[in-house]
Every structure is written in C-alpha cells, then in structure tokens.
Symmetry: C2
C-alpha cells in the first residue's frame, strides 16, 4: 500500500520554514501535486479519506494558494477593482463604500484594488486599463449615466461588474441604487406637511441618471401635495462656495423659497451656510430636507430633515452582486434598490 518510486512530482525536499506550496503538502502526504490540488478543490475523483488527509495537512501548514500561480495558470485574479472618482469626495462617502465592500470580500479570496480617476478627465480610462490588462475579475463603478459608455464596454467585453446607480438605455446589468425618486417625493411631502409650499431643489448634475429620478420624484411630489418649484440654478457638483453664494442670493430675493430639497449631504452644508448668510433660520423661515450618506448634518443643524442613504450597505450589495455575476448568476437577479430612511423626521 505504501507508495514507492515517487520521482517526478514530489521528489524535492520541503525546505524548512518557507511558505508551504502544493509541493510541500504533496511531500508530506506522499501524494502527487496534482492529487493535492484536486483534493483541495474537492474534485470527485479523489478518495474521501485522501481529501481529509490533505485538508488536515494543509490546515496544519497554514497553506494558502499562491495568488500569482493561480492567476498565471487560470487567469483568475481574485481581485475586485473599485473605480473611484477622486473629485467629488468631501465626506466619507467612498470610504464607507470601501468598508462595505470589504466586509463582504473578507470571507472570500478576493482583494479590493482601488483605481481612482478624475471624472473631469476621461472616465473610460480606468475601465479600459482593467479590461486591457485583465487585472480584475470584477469591477464596481459609480456616477452612472443613462447610457453609460463604461457599462456598454464592460458588458460587451463580458467583464462582471456592478454599478452604484442605474442606466436607462435598455442595458441590463447588476446595480444597486438608492431610491432617489422616493426620496424626492417624500422630501416634498415632509416639507408640505410642515406648511411649506414654495420649494427649491438642489439637484445632481443632469448627466447622471439619478438626476431624472430626483426630478420625477420632486415633480410628482409638487403635484401630489400641491406645491410649486422655486428654480435654483446650480447643482450638487458645484464648488461649495458657489452653492452658498447662489443660495444666499436666492434667500435674499423676494422670491425666496420656504423649503429646500438637497440631493447631497456635503452640498447641504453649503446650502445651510447660504441660508444663514441671508439671515434666515431653518425651522422658522424655511425647512430643508437633505439626503446624506454619513450622519453628520444633524450635528450641524438638528433642524435639517435628513434621509439616510446607507452607502456601506450599497457597498455590500454591490460586492455580493459582482461575485454572484462572476459565478454566473444572471444580471437581472442582481439588482437592488434601497429605500430612504428618515431617522429624525418627527411627524
């Protein structure tokens, strides 16, 4: 029963305290390298007892497959690339997303690689790089446009990915999104319930898909609850100083709104500054509703009515979706939308 004549594969020595490889395990178990490899991935043609033995030795040695070896042989990188826009970031938005993603990845062999880019520059560049160098098994992108060229390219090339935000051009792909339409609609409701009727909207840049969602929610809200819009000609991507100045001018004008809906937490800070600069007070002269991804607005002005977008949860969802997509799950099944929660909106 003893196997003699083990020349080809497992001939060499275990060489002391080096990192263990399949060869080490093969040597220790007296098996061939191939057998060990197949045993560890629970292949059907390996005996149950052998598998058990191999697993024990592997655990004992603290064996971890060499990523470069696997990657070279199979092409599997065990990497998820997170493409981040470097500009927008003021609050801990992307950190939260990173942490959400890594929570999910921590139980898997996947690592997370950050690929940043300036969204004023070519947003295709990082995606192209990842595709050209096959440097990831999956990709996560944000700031999605209705007919996003990155989504097209990734789909076309068969690269698994998930998006934070939806497209709107007949493209089917995994995504996680916040229900911005519901948010805007409910925001108007909150304001009207507080007796506000003349409402301004600080909206996202119009090229992003959720601009439309915000608009629709806002407008149906105005209609449903009988309010009107006070136009505000600036968007959430503008420099904070610009937002403050424009809001201040608006609030000083005869046409000042008595309610503001704000689509981003960092912008809300600037809006608030504009309001105060105009000598108005939240809760008295007007109310403001804002979305936020980090619970910070309430610390600044408790009067701001906030809807929470759980970005960490978004990270988790997208990580799960990408991995599922890598495992061949259909994109249709990997789409989710999270609802706004209103931690402090006393009815």
């Amino acid at each position: 029963m003893e196997n003699k004549g083990n020349f080809g594969q497992a001939a060499s020595a275990p060489t002391a305290r080096e990192r263990p490889t399949l060869k080490t395990i093969a040597f220790m178990t007296g098996l061939g390298v191939t057998t060990v490899s197949r045993a560890l991935k629970d292949a059907p043609d390996i005996g149950a007892e052998t598998k058990e033995r191999v697993r024990m030795v592997a655990r004992q040695l603290g064996y971890q497959p060499n990523r470069a070896g696997v990657r070279l042989r199979t092409g599997k990188t065990n990497v998820i690339a997170l493409v981040l826009s470097i500009d927008e970031e003021i609050m801990g938005f992307s950190s939260q997303m990173v942490f959400g993603i890594s929570e999910v990845l921590s139980g898997t062999p996947y690592h997370i690689v950050i690929t940043p880019h300036s969204h004023s520059k070519d947003p295709m560049q990082p995606v192209r790089y990842i595709l050209d160098t096959s440097s990831a098994d999956g990709v996560i992108i944000s700031r999605i446009e209705p007919d996003d060229p990155r989504v097209r390219l990734l789909t076309e090339r068969g690269m698994p990915f998930a998006t934070h935000g939806r497209t709107d051009a007949g493209l089917t792909h995994p995504f996680h999104d916040f229900d911005n339409e519901a948010f805007a609609h409910q925001a108007v409701e909150k304001l009207v319930k507080r007796g506000r009727r003349r409402i301004a909207l600080l909206q996202p840049p119009s090229k992003l898909t959720y601009y439309a969602h915000i608009r629709i929610g806002f407008q149906t809200g105005l209609h449903d609850y009988g309010a009107e819009e006070v136009p505000l000609r600036v968007n959430t991507d503008a420099p904070l100083a610009d937002i403050r100045d424009i809001v201040e001018v608006m609030m000083r004008s005869a046409n000042a709104p008595d309610g503001i809906v704000c689509s981003a937490g960092s912008a809300a800070i600037a809006v608030n500054a504009g309001i105060e600069a105009a000598g108005k007070a939240l809760g008295r002269d007007l109310d403001m509703v804002s979305k936020q991804s980090v619970p910070i607005l309430n610390w600044i002005r408790p009067e701001i009515i906030t809807a929470q977008e759980d970005v960490r949860q978004a990270g988790r969802e997208m990580a799960k979706a990408v991995i599922a997509r890598i495992d061949g799950v259909e994109p249709e099944l990997l789409q989710s939308i999270s609802q706004p929660t209103w931690p402090n909106s006393g009815r």
Copy 2:
C-alpha cells in the same frame, strides 16, 4: 545578418488579437524571448539598436507585462497595501489618503490594495496576513503607538513600510506625521491672544503616539502664554453623542472653560453641538480651535479656528517613502513632518 533557425523560443504564432506577451514581441522582432525581456529593462548586454526596435514594437502593441508572470517568477507583487481602520472613519479622512497615495502610484506599476480591519479587533492580523502571504511589496499603516508591534514586526521581517504617525521607542522607520505638538501649542496661543485663559483639551486616545505630542504642545503652550487647563475626560475616539453630552455638562458647570482645543475634526462637530446645547456661543462665551483634515468645520461654524492637516499630502509622502524604501533608500531619509496651516485664523 538575418537570423534563421529560430526554433526553441519564438517558434509559435502571434495568435491574432490576444494580449501581447514577450513571445509576441519576440515573434515580431525575430528575437528571442530573453532578449526582448532584457531589452525592455535596458540591460547592458543588448545592442542599442535592438533595444530601440524592441521598444518600438512593444509600444506599438501596447505591451504591458503580465503581473502574474512577474510576480510568480520574481516575487515582486507591485502592490502597496494600505491597512485602514474601519471604525474611526466619519469624515473623508481615509479617502483623501487613498487619493494622495494613488496620485503618486499612478506613475508607477504599483497598485493599491485596501486591507481594512476593525481596530477593536487584533490590529496585527492584516499585517500578519500580508507578511505570511507576501501579498505586497510595501505597507502603509496608521494609528501608530509609541512601541507599535506592527512596526516591530514589519521591520523584523524586512517588509518596506511607512507609517502615518511616529513611534517612540528607538524604532527607526519611514513615517509622515503632522506636527501635533506645534498644533496644540499654536492652538493655545490663538486662544490666549483672544483673551482666553481657561482651556480644555479634547485629546486623542492615550495609547496613540501623538497623544503625547498633543499633551506636550498643549502644556508648554499653557505655560508659555499663561493659561490653565480645564480637564475634559473624554477622547476623540469616543462616540460623538458621548462627546457632546460630556461637553454640554462641562459647559454648564461653574468651571466651564473659555477655550477648547480639539484634536479631530469630526469630534469638533460634537463638541460644537455640546457647546450649543449648553446655550453658549463660540466667539462670545468661548473660542474653539480644531484640527481638521477636510475643510468642513468652517462651513458649520465660521467661528471655529481651524488648523488644516493635509491628509492627501500625507498620502503622497507615504507613498513616495514606501517606494523609496522598496528601492533601498535608508529609513532615516524617509521621515517627514508637516506643519499646521491656519487658513482662517485672523490675527
């Protein structure tokens, strides 16, 4: 001069639109794979004209070395691991650091991999993982303690790294730090120049190295400018609600300070809330100085006197330091300290 009989190495075909490898270039130039490899790394035993020819073809093909191949053969991962603490993060602290790092890395073959961990759990775990699996060429860590076991381990194992913060136990290693001593000293100065004499300090947790720096700067400041300390029994790591409550109690007491120095931007938000809850006003009843890494405090209360810590710059410095260390530069030469800047402190 034409080379015939090219059997062993460059025999196989270029196979159409696949990703180019050394073999592709070898085939196209009629050279051996080894020659191409050496030509691309500018080895001295390759002819000048040949090098030029190889480089042209490589550029033409858009050749990028296969990372798995390099890594398997040489052990070089071309990865910098950023170990991030997942808990502390409220503001965009770590995002800024990530972006600073990637700014530097973008001109290099290095990728940045995020390795998060909860600092309530074992902080050695991610470092051990990186060492055991040799999964990076360099490491960046933060939240440094005076005798940090991670620094010891990384040094002992010869893994290049840089820290955000210093140690204080005779360990020599690359670091970038903010001059917290200068900050605290100058903070006291600012307060005293505004006529404040009874000053509280919201300090970092005492196990971190910069606790001592803050304390020393604060205390020499008190001494130099003739002020006294009002004790505050909470640190910047505490939940924001706790900070607010404790500050509120302090501000309502007979012993309330007329100045506060705050060592972290997010905590300052809670401190401000506590002050307001106690019915006090910044600029009237007291002044506050705070460090911040993202320019947000001034939007909240312009009265807060802020010192800017440029975390993005810290990221850049650390990235440069790690790479230099990988390239063999002595640790002594890779240490830097940045000074606080005071964007809004009217003299």
